[in-house]
């Protein structure tokens, strides 16, 4: 016992070093699981509030540009509405949208997150999808009263169900951690006819994102002759570095769909 105490006293620096490193590792592992609640993240009071202040300040510099973008989006939405009202088959899959502003964003890491200025009070819940009219941004990971964090599509654990617009073959999209402008698409059989420049849309199978949002364009096909699946890269239409405003979406029929699918599994 005395020897032990002496040993601890002699090596206290090394022991403190190891303890701190083990604690840091514990935090890393704790946080790496997608649904596990992390106990310090950017939805909590001090960090989120300071992001909000700086974000307000930064918004002034991009007002003109934002305004132009909003006008464009407005015009597009208007045309969409007029198109839908003449359409005899109305959509059977209603989604509810909540608009939010991004107050923190990252693109350069292997696992990226965003912070939004809306939270539980505004109706945002864990697992909702985050989109813009030009693409998919991510899935809500944590919420607090007034803020929420989003697991970006630029995260090693993000996976989105997508389809090729021209023939509706579906696959899944995953980021390979290298360039924030590009991502890979898996699981499309190699017999499917593809060409560079084809549009990628969301398939809507996941109940998280609405279907038929255009999100990318194929810009690389490296399929070899004996491959079973296509080896494709696409580039995002949305510039994930310039984002400011997003929509958080929730399928109003999600529960019904999930219930039905579960009951047919049994």
């Amino acid at each position: 016992m005395r020897n032990l105490l002496e040993f601890i006293n002699k090596n206290n620096h090394l022991i403190l070093f190891i303890l701190l490193e083990v604690f840091a590792l514990f935090l890393i592992i704790q946080n790496s699981q997608f649904h596990k609640a992390a106990f310090i993240n950017s939805t909590n009071g001090v960090t989120a509030n300071s992001f909000a202040i700086v974000s307000n300040f930064k918004n002034y510099f991009s007002l003109k540009k934002t305004n132009d973008l909003l006008l464009l989006e407005n015009a597009k939405l208007k045309s969409l509405i007029s198109y839908q009202s003449t359409d005899s088959i109305s959509s059977k899959d209603p989604y509810q949208f909540i608009s939010a502003t991004i107050i923190n964003n990252s693109i350069a890491k292997a696992n990226n997150y965003l912070t939004l200025d809306k939270g539980e009070v505004d109706g945002i819940r864990k697992g909702m999808g985050v989109i813009t009219n030009k693409g998919v941004i991510g899935i809500v990971k944590e919420t607090s009263k007034g803020y929420s964090t989003v697991l970006s599509i630029l995260h090693s654990q993000s996976k989105v169900s997508v389809a090729i617009q021209k023939n509706n073959h579906f696959g899944s999209l995953q980021w390979d951690g290298k360039n924030y402008k590009k991502a890979r698409i898996y699981d499309i059989p190699s017999h499917v006819d593809l060409s560079l420049g084809d549009t990628i849309i969301t398939s809507g199978f996941s109940h998280i994102f609405p279907s038929k949002i255009k999100l990318g364009i194929i810009n690389e096909i490296n399929t070899k002759e004996d491959d079973k699946f296509h080896n494709i890269k696409m580039s995002f239409i949305e510039d994930l570095k310039q984002l400011r405003y997003v929509n958080v979406c929730q399928s109003l029929n999600k529960e019904e769909k999930v219930e039905l699918e579960n009951s047919s599994d049994e």
Binding site: F17, L27, I28, A110
Partner: protein, 173 residues
């Protein structure tokens, strides 16, 4: 509270602020994100009777940066590592310091010379970045990790050496 404590506390606040609100938004060539807050850790005094305190300070510095980047624990891990490696590395570079480690020595370019400052900064920045990117990737992709480490370490080191230069000119006056 003496002069040194106050100086380092101000430096701590200043560099945390710079890192979170300015340098976290800077991307050279699209993906190089300089971590200038390391300046604070590199500039902590050398005093072997206080070295446990420095480890704890480094841990919390890293944790604050983590909280703002959602990278829980990664910066804390890398910071504690360089805070631990800092004193042995400097003793290796300047062996005559060994007799004086009980007194508070502050690192400055003026006192230690440009060459030693540059080597000291580069080694520690490289260790920090390598560990950080390796943990972040969490898979064995050594080429990508090394490429990111080298590119980012060069930018961070240049900035830190520049800050050290400005710092030593200030103390001259």
């Amino acid at each position: 509270m003496n002069n040194i404590t106050i100086r380092h506390s101000i430096r701590f606040l200043l560099f945390i602020f710079l890192q979170i609100f300015i340098f976290n938004n800077v991307f050279f060539l699209g993906y190089i994100n300089p971590y200038v807050y390391l300046f604070f850790i590199l500039m902590l005094p050398f005093n072997t009777s206080n070295k446990n305190t420095y480890l704890i300070i480094a841990f919390f510095t890293g944790l604050i940066i983590d909280a703002f980047q959602n990278s829980m624990g990664m910066h804390a891990f890398a910071c504690v590592l360089i805070a631990y490696a800092r004193i042995p590395i400097l003793l290796r570079l300047v062996p005559q310091l060994k007799s004086k480690t009980q007194t508070t020595i502050e690192f400055s370019m003026k006192e230690f010379g440009v060459q030693i400052s540059v080597i000291y900064t580069c080694i520690l920045v490289f260790i920090h970045h390598f560990v950080l990117f390796a943990i972040e990737a969490f898979r064995f992709d050594i080429g990508n990790i090394l490429l990111r480490t080298i590119a980012s370490a060069i930018v961070t080191s240049v900035l830190l050496i520049l800050f050290q230069f400005l710092n030593s000119r200030n103390t001259l006056k």
